[in-house]
Symmetry: C2
Subunit: 371 residues, 2 copies
């Protein structure tokens, strides 16, 4: 019998760390999971076949970018985002809110929503909770994120209280506007680096209708990352136990490990793909920059313990040459390897939790990525 959509099964916990799974229309998602970011209907330098090859379970799309270009109406007419980018597995889309704040010009926030000018052509647009839901449903996403206001870091108490209230009000409007049963709406908990604000807002969010998942927003916006990690073990375990917990926009391998250790299930970040294009590579022995002169005649693969196609076929010397000459193939191979590593990291984290070996895996692996 087919499992009901978004049915969440907590398989095993070890300390605060969790292994779980849940269902979407486009397949099961097993956690902990890292979601590669496909900003404009493509994970940069990766085809959908590549994403299957690295065994990505779910990719993220950006509502702000897709709304502006090529337009969610076009994507809907073309059969939805899955068909458009030929990706048959689950898709999560953000609400557009974060990019409106970080990319657009002349934005003005009111209780109604956010008026902004496109960073592409200066045209004027209005994003509201209802509009964000409409766009994400047009895209046909399996998981859609509530439209929220991410308070800046640092911000005044007044700004914070305004953002929390608006985020709660807007979540209620998202719930009302969400009419597509195949799209799971996740609520977002804000509150910056204040434990009290986080708990206060979590209470508000959980006071509304029960949702299929919950996210922590507003981290990784410029604050010292250790501040986040200090908070997570006290915040994350208070999120609903039998729902996926998603930490938005995070992070490095050590961030992922520490957050899993605090009870987080889901992650996304442009970090592994963005730095790949600059030559930064992740391996099971730690981080390296392939552009360094020491790798010029290095015949070894990026990571001798890695089974990805890059490590099976290409030497560090060759990859250094591609990086130094800024060849397109270099961007692809470095991205492919880094995303494979992130998938592998989350897979091994999951296996170690299921096997009751999380603590030793966590300690051993974390030491290689102390930043």
């Amino acid at each position: 019998m087919k499992k009901p959509l978004f049915d969440f099964e907590l398989e095993k916990t070890q300390g605060l760390a969790r292994a779980a799974k849940f269902q979407t229309l486009h397949g099961e998602i097993q956690t902990p999971v890292f979601m590669p970011v496909g900003t404009r209907a493509t994970v940069k330098a990766m085809s959908s076949e590549d994403l299957v090859e690295i065994d990505a379970q779910v990719v993220l799309g950006n509502t702000y970018h897709l709304y502006l270009r090529p337009g969610d109406d076009l994507i809907k007419d073309m059969g939805g985002l899955h068909k458009f980018m030929n990706w048959k597995r689950p898709i999560l889309t953000d609400s557009g809110g974060f990019q409106v704040f970080s990319l657009s010009k002349l934005r003005k926030i009111t209780d109604e929503g956010v008026r902004f000018k496109s960073h592409l052509d200066g045209s004027s647009h209005m994003l509201t909770p209802e509009k964000s839901m409409e766009i994400q449903m047009n895209l046909g996403s399996d998981i859609i994120m509530a439209f929220d206001e991410c308070p800046p870091y640092p911000c005044s108490d007044e700004e914070m209280r305004g953002a929390l209230k608006r985020t709660t009000d807007w979540l209620q409007r998202c719930i009302t506007a969400q009419t597509r049963p195949e799209s799971a709406l996740f609520g977002i908990i804000q509150g910056g680096l204040s434990y009290d604000y986080r708990m206060e807002h979590m209470e508000q969010v959980l006071g509304l209708e029960e949702l299929p998942g919950y996210a922590l927003g507003g981290f990784s916006v410029g604050e010292p990352i250790d501040e986040m990690h200090k908070m997570l073990p006290s915040i994350a375990p208070q999120m609903p136990e039998h729902k996926p917990r998603y930490l938005m926009g995070v992070g490095t391998p050590s961030d992922l490990l520490r957050a899993v250790n605090a009870g987080i299930d889901m992650f996304d970040c442009v970090f592994p793909t963005r730095v790949a294009r600059n030559g930064t590579i992740f391996t099971w022995s730690g981080r390296l920059n392939i552009k360094r002169a020491e790798y010029a005649r290095d015949e070894r693969p990026l990571d001798e313990s890695c089974e990805c196609k890059v490590c099976q076929n290409y030497s560090r010397g060759y990859l250094r040459h591609l990086a130094k000459t800024e060849e397109l193939l270099g961007f692809h191979l470095n991205t492919f390897h880094n995303l494979y590593f992130y998938q592998d990291l989350m897979k091994k984290a999951r296996q170690s939790i299921l096997a009751g070996e999380w603590e030793s895996f966590y300690q051993t692996t974390l030491t290689r990525f102390v930043t």
Copy 2:
């Protein structure tokens, strides 16, 4: 029993068009053949696995670029160009002469060779026939090209006579310097758009030691391309019948078809890869530019009759979006399709010659690519 290296077998002729094959250390090459250009040890936006998938038989490497960066000594130390770029099939390298003329600064030609300054860092270098042979042998190429002087278009009689004499003298020095039996040295026939000069130079080149192959150089350097096509049917058939005939740096699909029809066997050109990155796509119905607005909501593949992975998986609408947003994946998919098309074009040309159907294939296909 293993066939001897560079053993050339003329399988079938139809009119002037030929189907043939010959052996290299890294496998057989079946003609007519198009060689994708891997300038800096990579065909731009394609991995070696991709090149196998499109069934490229042989790729071209550029001696000038590889000599400057990462250096032929480094590539030799890393096991040769095949191992460096993980390409197990044949490699042809040019002599470096053409790029010295087109890219470097302050070049000075003497009978000894060409002194030039690197376009990368202004450092001073000397390329001679002996040096070109040494570099190409260090790279471990299956086919190495003689170091020649390509006369500009247009040029005076005096310039032409100087270039021809030097090219012949330099070829003799290449023959003497070529000491690696696995690398087949091809001679280059120059002579611009003059039938008399071409025949005069061909006689000089053929008057030297017998070589495993011969090329026509100095076309596609700015002259009206129809002038080349007027000449080819009278020049190409006078090249040795039982050796591969290579037309360097050409060209468009119609150029390839017309040159095959004149008796040419081998081609290389950056054209299909370079224009792919600009959105120009070749199909069996002709050329299209995927950036055009008419393709925005087009759910069809680039070419409904094409079996490449791009046409199996992605729509014109999606590829237009990638091209308009200049996404790296767009560069890859367009390049992959164009090179697949070129391989397919040469494969079908070969099949039609072998089947005795060249004339009708030629006429039907050419009309779709009249430029």
